[in-house]
Symmetry: C2
Subunit: 270 residues, 2 copies
Amino acid sequence: MIPCQVITSRKNEIIKTAARLRDSASFRREQNAFLAEGARLCADAADSGLLIRAVFYTERAGEKYASYLDRIFPKAEQVNQIADSVAELLGDTRQPQGVFCTAELPKRAAASGIEKNGCYLALEEIQDPSNLGAVLRTAEALGVSGVVLAGSCCDPYGAKALRAGMGAVFRLPLYYEENLALCVRRLRGQNFFTAAAVPTEDALPITGVSFPPAVLLAVGNEGAGLSRQAVAACDARVTIPMLGRAESLNAASSAAILMWEIMRTRGRLE
Amino acid sequence: MIPCQVITSRKNEIIKTAARLRDSASFRREQNAFLAEGARLCADAADSGLLIRAVFYTERAGEKYASYLDRIFPKAEQVNQIADSVAELLGDTRQPQGVFCTAELPKRAAASGIEKNGCYLALEEIQDPSNLGAVLRTAEALGVSGVVLAGSCCDPYGAKALRAGMGAVFRLPLYYEENLALCVRRLRGQNFFTAAAVPTEDALPITGVSFPPAVLLAVGNEGAGLSRQAVAACDARVTIPMLGRAESLNAASSAAILMWEIMRTRGRLE
């Protein structure tokens, strides 16, 4: 593949735009695009059918990651070779691989669009992008049907969330919802069993719950947990039984164990 | 409690030393001490019986966190009130609570000291301090007997690991080991069942393993997984069954699910 152009200046407008897409969630919304870093992540984005506006690669990456780039090039509107210094500017990691792409954001789906039965996870006000990425990665790996991002969660298309998510964001259905309590009530109306994850001892131990085919599991913010309204809207409060003196788990670890229990007891993970 | 002194200068030697303890693992080893931030974490350190060399608190924190400080003061060799600007210098978080302490590191226990049966987790070459902290927090919460840090893991007494660990490091037995494979062989000799966590489909699904009372579960580095030698030394390779296209989980999420399964199937988490 012959690049459209070779970019050597860190002040190139295309590069400046790409760097802003990495750093600013509001700029991503405005431009309806995001920046992905890494050969595999970019190839995952291309495979998922997203429109790839531009791909960027260094000369060395062109050789080292040829098999990944071959998956990206045919789908890219613009192909740019970049100097190493430009890759350092675009990179969010210490040793960038030298492969980046800008891609169009997928259409935001509203949680009201959830129709099929399945196991859904709802995250309320998750603030840490690495936590969010890790949760999406686990959700996809365990076969969760989709994830609802409720309230003002951090952006799954930011650099840290993308890196921690390992491409799960491109394969896992995501839904957006302003108000988790409303979403819970709507799904209860569709015969979903709705469970609020809480760290209190008087909640149902997760080991004692038998989950029906349609489940929404709600997990709250790292510091404050779920909103009172969201907890009140759910059918049940569930908890991970604990033995130590710790009073709660990290949001990502907690979500991992809860999703695991729901999916395991369906007999689908064997 | 009347402070020994009020520190208003960011250039005060005690403060400069405390800040270095936060930032440098080698300085922590040299001084045999670490810096803890946050009222609760400092109180947890004091409760655990560690020698508290000095406590630092702002005037506002003195009122707001009085109940925590009351647990720390009697155990502290030195009590220092600090100006807000000094708290900002010491703080690793955006909005520091204004409570810090320096404490002596506990004696490093060697993994060869593991004698009692129980469920132990071994981490090899874990690099991300937030991951390490989250794993320790989960291990403590689920009642794991102890954690082996093998190879060159990051320091559990660094600022990020302490924050993510929520004080688990003060309550959970930690053991150090240069070479995980040697540690595995030693524990096999003590009739431990040793399991290597791997992300490959030909390993035993964790849902199909029945764990005896003495277990060592080995979990590897975020990027590279376990060393070949460590895997080869173990009785079995175990894996988390997955449904999505993801090929592996985040190290902390993976460790959480594996520890959960081991502890759950002992019937201790109900």
